[in-house]
C-alpha cells in the first residue's frame, strides 16, 4: 500500500465513471439553481413553458441525490481499493451497481424533464409523479446497495487474510458509512416500493401520507450524514498527510464514526416537529437523540484542531494561535476542505437551532432551512469533495495537479465562499423574517411583510450568480485534470497515526455490538410511533397530479 503510485487502471476507470456522472450533475444542478434564484428575484421568467417547480425538482434531485451518491460511492471505492484492495469479481459487482444507478438516474431525470414529476426532491405525497420517477429512484437505491455489499465483502476478505489485525482506518470508515446508508435507505425503499409505486400506477387508490413522510425522514436525516462522513474521512485521515502531520488518534476517529452511525438514524422526527399525528413524547425523545450527535461533532472539531496545532508547533510556530501559520493555506488540497470545515461551525449551529422544538416553529418551512443546508451539503461537504478531487482525479487519470490549477482552485474556493456567504446569509435572514422556502416568485398580494423579503431575494440571485461562476470554474478544472493536465504521478495522500496516540482497542471493531445498538435505538425510537401512525391515521389520500407547475 504505497502512497506514491496511482490506483491500478481498472479501479481508476471504475472510480472515474462515478466522477463523470458527479461532475455532469454538478453543472446541470448548478445551472438550475442559478435559474431559481433569478426567478425568485422577480427579474426573470423561464422560457419555453418550463416550470419553476420542474427546475427546483431537477436541482434537488440531481445535486442532493445524484451528485452526492455517485461522488461518494466512487471516492469510497478508491479508498477501499487503496487500503484493502479489490478483486476482479468485486470490481464487476461494483460496475453492475454503477450501471443500475445510472439507469435509474436517467429514468428519473427524463421523467422530470418531461414535466411529469414536479414533486421536488422530497416527493411528499399526495403530490404524484409519473411512476417512472419513483422506479428510477428505487433503482438508484438498489444500485447503491450493490456498492454497499461490495464494500462489506472487500473488508471481509481483507479481515480473513489479516486475522487479528485491526482494519485500516479508511476502510473501517467506508464500511460504517455504507452500513448507515443501507439501514437508512431501507426506509425510503419501503415507502417508494410499497407505497408510492403501487399508488402512482393506480393499483391502490390512496396513500398514507404521514407514514410516507415518516419513512422519508427516517432516511432523510441519515442522508445528511451519508454526505458528511466521506468529508470526515478526508478530514481525519487525508488532510493530516497533506499538511505534513499525523492522525491525532485512530481510536477517537473510529469512536466518532460509531457514534454517528448510532445517533444519525433514530432522529427523523426533528424534520416533522410541526406534523400532526405524531405523539409529542416521541418527538421529544428523537430531539434528545438528535442532540447526541453534537458529541461526535465536537470530538471531530477537537481532533482537527489538535492535528493542526501539533503539526504547526512541530514546524516551529509558537504562541496560542501561531500554529495557524504553519498550515499550507496555498495548497488547494488543504485550503478548500479547510474553508468547508470553517463553514461547518455556522452550519452545525443552524442544525441545532432547527432541531430545537421551539425554534423550529420560528424557522420551519422558511428559507432559513434552505440557507442551512446550502451551508452543510452546499459548502462544507462540496468544498471538501472539491478538495478531494484536486488530488484524486489526477491520480486516477495519471496526471499532475499543476500549480496553475492549484491557484485556480484557490480562486474557485474564494468565489464559492463569497457567493455562498451572500446567498446563504440572505436566506438565513429572510427566513427569520418569515420568507417561505420552495415557493416561486410572488408578492403575496402586495402584503407588507413580503415586501421585506425582496431585497434578500435579490441578494440570493447575486450570490447564486457568483456560485454559478464557481461551478463553471470547477467544471473547467475537472475537464483539465481529466484530459489536459501533464502526465505524471499524483500522490494519493493517506495519513499515518501519530506515535503519541494510544493503541486502538479491539472492541471498537465489534461490529455486532455497534450494529446491535444502532438497530435497538431505531426500534426504540420508531416502533411505537409507527404503530400509532398506522393504526390511527386519517383516511389515505388520492393522488394529485402536476398541481404545481
Amino acid at each position: 500500500m504505497t502512497t506514491n503510485t496511482n490506483l491500478n487502471k481498472f479501479d481508476s476507470k471504475l472510480v472515474m465513471a462515478h466522477m463523470h456522472v458527479a461532475f455532469v450533475s454538478l453543472f446541470i444542478g448548478g445551472l438550475m439553481g442559478l435559474l431559481q434564484t433569478l426567478v425568485r428575484a422577480g427579474t426573470f421568467t423561464l422560457p419555453f413553458g418550463i416550470g419553476y417547480y420542474q427546475i427546483l425538482t431537477v436541482h434537488g434531485v440531481i445535486l442532493a441525490l445524484v451528485l452526492t451518491t455517485f461522488f461518494i460511492i466512487g471516492f469510497q471505492f478508491s479508498l477501499m481499493s487503496k487500503t484493502v484492495g479489490m478483486t476482479d469479481k468485486q470490481r464487476d459487482s461494483a460496475w453492475f451497481g454503477f450501471w443500475i444507478m445510472l439507469f435509474g438516474t436517467v429514468t428519473t431525470a427524463v421523467t422530470i424533464l418531461l414535466g411529469q414529476a414536479n414533486v421536488l426532491y422530497t416527493f411528499y405525497a399526495p403530490l404524484k409523479a409519473f411512476p417512472t420517477f419513483y422506479i428510477g429512484l428505487a433503482l438508484v437505491v438498489i444500485g447503491s446497495w450493490i456498492g454497499c455489499f461490495t464494500n462489506f465483502r472487500q473488508l471481509y476478505v481483507w479481515k480473513k487474510k489479516n486475522k487479528g489485525e485491526k482494519s485500516p482506518l479508511l476502510a473501517f470508515m467506508v464500511v460504517i458509512n455504507m452500513l448507515l446508508w443501507f439501514i437508512a435507505t431501507l426506509g425510503v425503499a419501503a415507502t417508494v416500493i410499497l407505497q408510492f409505486i403501487p399508488w402512482s400506477l393506480g393499483m391502490v387508490d390512496t396513500i398514507n401520507v404521514l407514514l410516507s413522510r415518516t419513512l422519508f425522514w427516517y432516511f432523510g436525516h441519515p442522508l445528511v450524514y451519508f454526505w458528511l462522513l466521506p468529508a470526515y474521512m478526508a478530514w481525519y485521515a487525508i488532510i493530516p498527510k497533506i499538511i505534513g502531520g499525523k492522525i491525532f488518534s485512530d481510536s477517537l476517529a473510529r469512536l466518532a464514526f460509531i457514534l454517528f452511525l448510532m445517533f444519525s438514524i433514530p432522529v427523523g422526527f426533528h424534520h416533522q416537529l410541526t406534523e400532526p399525528g405524531i405523539d409529542p413524547l416521541w418527538k421529544f425523545i428523537q430531539v434528545v437523540l438528535t442532540f447526541m450527535v453534537i458529541i461526535p461533532s465536537l470530538l471531530t472539531a477537537f481532533s482537527m484542531f489538535a492535528t493542526f496545532e501539533i503539526t504547526g508547533r512541530k514546524k516551529g510556530y509558537t504562541g496560542l494561535f501561531g500554529w495557524l501559520k504553519g498550515l499550507p493555506w496555498k495548497d488547494v488540497r488543504f485550503f478548500a476542505p479547510m474553508v468547508g470545515m470553517i463553514f461547518f461551525i455556522p452550519a452545525g449551529t443552524g442544525g441545532i437551532i432547527n432541531a430545537s422544538n421551539q425554534m423550529n416553529q420560528v424557522v420551519h418551512n422558511t428559507i432559513w432551512v434552505t440557507g442551512h443546508f446550502h451551508l452543510t451539503v452546499g459548502t462544507t461537504v462540496i468544498l471538501t469533495f472539491f478538495g478531494i478531487s484536486y488530488w484524486l482525479i489526477p491520480s486516477l487519470t495519471g496526471r499532475k495537479l499543476t500549480s496553475k490549477i492549484n491557484t485556480l482552485g484557490i480562486i474557485q474556493t474564494i468565489v464559492w465562499t463569497v457567493g455562498m456567504t451572500i446567498m446563504s446569509g440572505s436566506m438565513h435572514i429572510a427566513g427569520l423574517l418569515g420568507a417561505p422556502r420552495r415557493s416561486s416568485y410572488s408578492t403575496y398580494g402586495g402584503t407588507e411583510q413580503a415586501s421585506e423579503w425582496i431585497s434578500y431575494q435579490i441578494a440570493q440571485a447575486v450570490g447564486g450568480s457568483i456560485l454559478f461562476i464557481g461551478i463553471i470554474l470547477m467544471v473547467y478544472i475537472f475537464i483539465y485534470m481529466v484530459w489536459a493536465a501533464p502526465k505524471g504521478v499524483e500522490e494519493f495522500p493517506l495519513a499515518k497515526v501519530s506515535e503519541n496516540a494510544e493503541p486502538t482497542p479491539m472492541f471498537l471493531e465489534n461490529w455486532k455490538l455497534w450494529i446491535g445498538i444502532t438497530i435497538a435505538l431505531i426500534l426504540f425510537a420508531y416502533t411505537i410511533p409507527v404503530i400509532d401512525i398506522i393504526q390511527h391515521s386519517p383516511p389515505g389520500s388520492p393522488p394529485f397530479d402536476i398541481i404545481i407547475k
Binding site: 465536537l298 461551525i345 449551529t349 430545537s356 427569520l432 503519541n500
Partner: protein
C-alpha cells in the same frame, strides 16, 4: 482513592510531560461551543418575542 501509591504517581509524570501542547485547540473548541450557545439564545429570544 486517597492513598495513592507514590511510585505510581511518579510513573505518571513523564507521560504527561511528553503530551503535546494543545492550548489553542482547547480555546478554539470552547469558542465553537460559545458560538453555538450564543446563536441558540438569539433565535430563542426571537421565539419568545413573537
Amino acid at each position: 482513592m486517597s492513598n495513592i501509591n507514590p511510585l505510581q504517581k511518579e510513573n505518571k509524570q513523564p507521560a504527561s510531560e511528553s503530551e503535546p501542547e494543545l492550548k489553542g485547540t482547547l480555546i478554539a473548541v470552547f469558542s465553537i461551543g460559545a458560538f453555538i450557545v450564543v446563536s441558540w439564545f438569539i433565535v430563542f429570544a426571537l421565539f419568545v418575542a413573537r
